[in-house]
Structures are given as C-alpha cells and as structure tokens.
C-alpha cells in the first residue's frame, strides 16, 4: 500500500450476551483496510452484523476482540473525527434544519468550538452543499424524508470529520429520492474527499456508490469478499445504472450474496 490506511479493522469480533449466559457471535474476525478518501460499501443480508460493524468503527460499542484504528490510533470511543448518519435521520425535532446542523458544531469542546456566528455560517454552507438553501428555518416535520436525510448529512459533514459512517441512510426513502440522493452523495464525496463507509442491503446502491464493495456473510458476520467496482465517473447525463458493466458488477455481487441468503434461510428453517 502506498499510503497508510485511514481506517484499519483488525480481527474485529463482537459477541453479545444472550439469555442463559450463552454468547451470540455477531461479528467474527473482520479485517479490512479503508484508504483515505475511499468510498467503501458494505453489503450483506439483514442480521449479518453490518450495523454492529459500524457501531464498532464509530466507537459507540466496544469490540469483544480485535481493534479498529483510525490514522493508526486505536478507537476507544466516539469522537468527532468520525460522523455517523443513521437511517432514521436522528434530527432534533425542536430545532430547525439550520440549528440541527449547528448542533454538530456545538458538540465540540469549548476550546475549539467556533463562535455563534461562525457556527451559523458553517451550517448555512453545509445546507447549501446538500442543496437545502432556503430551507434553513424549517423544522424536521416540515421536511420530506429525503430532505431530512440531507440535513443529517449536512450535520455530519459540518463537523469536518475525516470519516463518514453511513448506516443504511437511504433505506427508508422511495426509489426516486434514493437515486437522487445517491448521485448527490457521490458528488459531495468528490467535493469533500471524505472517507466514507456505507452500509446497505441494496446491491444496486452498493455497486452504484462504492469504489469497493465488501460482501458480508451472516451468522457469524464475516467479510466474504471485496469486489472492486471500476465504473469510472458516474456521470449525471449518462445512465450508469443501465450499462452492461453495471449489470455485470451487480450480478457478481448478487451471486456472492445469494449463497449467503440461502444459508440464512436454511439456518432459520432448521432452527
């Protein structure tokens, strides 16, 4: 590797205590490197531990084994260099879009927290980045699902994180909104150069967004294979999604995933 990885996941495992003192292994021996500025998508069947993996990288939960390094420093807890975008937006309903974005800046320690005016200015810039100029004073309930997720993305980016962690952010949106936001996210990623780890169960989404797509197995969650996607620029004028290369990548990921889904089904029917 020419440059050291932004994120290094080393032999990561997570076991949950369930009843009768038995352990449930959600993740087992996950190892993967994410380069600086890379867009990595993790795709897997539901219940394979994708979200658990993201929680571990963000520092929201502690691993049972292995470790996560960001810029070579082990993760011990949540920090502002890693921002998380959740599927349920997680906007504060009593704050306007503008004030929700400012919230990320208020989280900083008193010393390097920008002043009130600077915060407002930064929030406005980031709302503009996600195309929400003119909606600053709207409350979350006055915005559509897609707009709420844009606010959440703006909030995540406003803190200027090195890494953006996204946990199925578009899963609750309708197909058209989702396509639009995927394009938007690619554009934002190119504009900001932020390293992104994106979790999804949608193959199309994975192939469209990712530079690399990591396919996860279920029970216990492991990384089965990493597919490199070489689709070049996803040009707005060109419909990448209906190209033959896209179909080929889609099929490759689908085949890798299908075995997993079948396995899951068998386990369920036996149990």
């Amino acid at each position: 590797m020419p440059s050291p990885p932004k994120i290094r996941v080393e032999g990561l495992g997570k076991t949950f205590q369930v009843r009768d003192g038995e352990g449930f292994t959600a993740l087992d021996d996950i190892s993967i490197d994410v380069a600086a500025g890379e867009f990595l998508v993790v795709v897997g069947p539901s219940g394979c531990g994708k979200s658990t993996l993201l929680d571990l990288i963000s520092g929201l939960s502690k691993p049972s084994g292995g470790r996560v390094l960001v810029d070579g420093v082990p993760v011990t807890g949540p920090a502002l260099d890693r921002a998380v975008v959740f599927q349920q937006y997680a906007l504060l309903p009593w704050r306007t879009a503008q004030r929700n974005v400012e919230f990320a800046l208020e989280a900083r320690s008193r010393l390097d927290r920008p002043g009130r005016k600077a915060r407002a200015e930064r929030a406005r810039e980031h709302l503009a980045l996600v195309g929400l100029t003119g909606f600053e004073d709207r409350y979350p309930h006055e915005l559509s699902g897609g707009m709420r997720q844009r606010v959440a993305i703006a909030r995540a980016l406003a803190a200027d994180p090195k890494v953006l962690l996204m946990d199925e952010p578009f899963a609750a949106l309708d197909a058209q909104t989702r396509d639009g936001l995927q394009e938007e996210l690619r554009r934002i990623w190119q504009a900001t150069g932020t390293t992104i780890v994106f979790i999804t169960h949608s193959i199309d989404e994975a192939v469209y967004l990712g530079q690399r797509v990591a396919i996860m197995t279920s029970r216990p969650g492991r990384i089965k294979q990493v597919v490199e996607v070489r689709l070049g620029e996803r040009d707005r004028d060109e419909d990448v999604r209906s190209s033959s290369e896209f179909a080929a990548y889609r099929h490759e990921v689908w085949s890798l995933l299908r075995d997993e889904v079948t396995v899951t089904r068998e386990v369920v029917s036996v149990g």
């Binding site: 929201l60 502002l80 997680a90 504060l92």
Partner: protein, 282 residues
C-alpha cells in the same frame, strides 16, 4: 372577544376602506360563529340553571338561579371578600405547585436517567401516586397543624406525583436514536442532558404539570373546607353554614373560573414551549 377585530377594523379604516372592511366583518362573523359553536353547551347549561329554580323544578332556597349567584359574586367582589379569599387560595396553590415542580422535575430527571434507581423506586412511587392525597390530610394536620404549612404541604404532595412520574417516563421515552446520534458526536453527558434529553422530555413533562395544576386547586379547596380562615374553599363552606346560599354559588363559580384560567395559562405556555411539534397538541 368579538369586539377586537371590529376595533381593529376601525383603526385600519383610513388605510384601505373598501377592501378591508368586508373581509374583517366576515372574519368577525366567522369568529363569532366559532365562539358560539364552542360555548353553546355552556350557555344551555347556564340557561337551565337559571330557569330550573324559577319554574320550581328545584327548591329555590337551595339552588338559586344563575343570575342571583352572579349578583352575589359581584357583591363579593365589591366588598373585597372575593379578592381576599382568592388571593389566599391562589398563593397557597401556587406555592405548593411551584414547590412540586421544583421537586418533581429534577428528581424525575434523575430517576429516569438512572435505570436502577427507577426500578428501585418505581413501586414506591406507584403506591404513593395511588394514595388519594386527601386521605392524608388528617396526617398532615396532625404533623403540621392547621395553618398554612399543612395546606401547602398537601398541595405539594398531590402535585408532585403526576409531575415526577411524567418526568420519569419522559426521560425514559426519549427517542433512542437521538441519544445514539448525540453520543456518536462525543457529546459529554451533561451537554447530552441539557441539549437532548431535557428538550425531548418537555412535552411529556408538561402533561404532568397540567395534571398537577388542576390537582393543586382541587386538593386545596378540599383542604380549605376542612379547616381554614380564608380561601375560596372556606368561603364555600362558611356561606353554606351561614345559609348565604347565593354567596356559596358565587364562590363555586369563582373556583371554576380560577381553575379554567389556570389551565388555559398552562396550555398556552405548553404551546409556546412545544411549537416545534406538528400540530398534535391542538
């Protein structure tokens, strides 16, 4: 109420005479109709109250017509007795209510935040909440005498439970995703509390505060009936004992108006504090 838009129209008249007036008149009429629709049941009830004693449906000695009760109320207001007694009641119930908020909200936040504390204290709180406050009035009188202290204490007791329990459930009901998201921003616990938990809890806490508000007047009036030298409850009781029946009804009307105004104030405050919510409180 209905006078207001018309007065406003008169003030605007020099500006846009022809277009403004009809619109405002229509709005005034609409407002009147809306007010009428909402008050018709009350008006009917008062009408029945007025008529029933007059036509001999009930004994006029014990149930005076509404108009006589109002007359007595005006008389009471004129000689200052109404204000003195209202003031006595109001200061007791506000003091008790305020103390209950001061105890209930912080304690509720604490209990709600620390799950083990909530589990430990839950059954006890449930027991206290379901103990009718008035059943404890003799105990309070025994311990604190018949003065102001025991009356305020019983209001505090009655008000604390709804506020405390609602605050506990408010904190425990805060959307887990909001907490997770704030934690992912490495927000320190005190700031998480001030910026997420507290604002998210306000609507549910306010439900408790409103319950306590009506409870504070209810319990106080009853306490004043048992032993007091002033207060609206005392006024009801003493009027009945002296057979000043119109005064008794006048005091009852005063109590109901006081309760109504208090509740409306709390509703207005609640609206102000929860304006961000999609029109659910309406």
């Amino acid at each position: 109420m209905a006078e207001l838009p018309i007065a406003r129209a008169a003030a605007r008249r020099p500006l846009k005479v022809k277009t403004r007036v009809p619109a405002v008149l229509i709005r005034a009429a609409q407002l009147l109709a809306a007010v009428g629709k909402r008050t018709i049941a009350v008006i009917l009830f008062l009408g029945l109250w007025e008529v029933a004693p007059r036509i001999g449906l009930v004994d006029r000695t014990f149930l005076v017509p509404f108009s006589e009760a109002v007359k007595a109320l005006i008389e009471l207001a004129r000689d200052g007795r109404l204000w003195d007694n209202t003031q006595a009641s109001l200061s007791r119930s506000l003091a008790g209510f305020g103390i209950a908020i001061g105890i209930g909200v912080p304690l509720g936040l604490l209990i709600g935040w620390y799950r083990p504390v909530a589990e430990f204290l839950g059954p006890l709180l449930e027991l206290f909440r379901n103990t009718a406050a008035l059943a404890l009035l003799p105990v309070f009188i025994l311990l604190l005498g018949i003065g102001e202290t025991s009356k305020i204490a019983i209001v505090v007791f009655a008000c604390t439970w709804p506020i405390l329990l609602n605050t506990v459930s408010a904190v425990r009901g805060v959307d887990a995703v909001l907490v997770k998201s704030a934690r992912s921003m490495a927000l320190p616990a005190p700031r998480l509390f001030a910026k997420v938990i507290l604002p998210a809890s306000v609507p549910t806490i306010f439900t408790g505060i409103r319950l306590a508000g009506s409870g504070s007047i209810l319990v106080l009036i009853a306490a004043e009936m048992v032993g007091a030298k002033a207060g609206l409850g005392y006024l009801v009781n003493v009027s009945q004992q002296n057979f000043a029946i119109p005064d008794m009804y006048a005091a009852i009307i005063a109590i109901s108006v006081l309760g109504l105004v208090f509740n409306q104030l709390l509703v207005a405050l609640e609206r102000r504090l929860t304006r961000w919510r999609p029109a659910a409180g309406a």
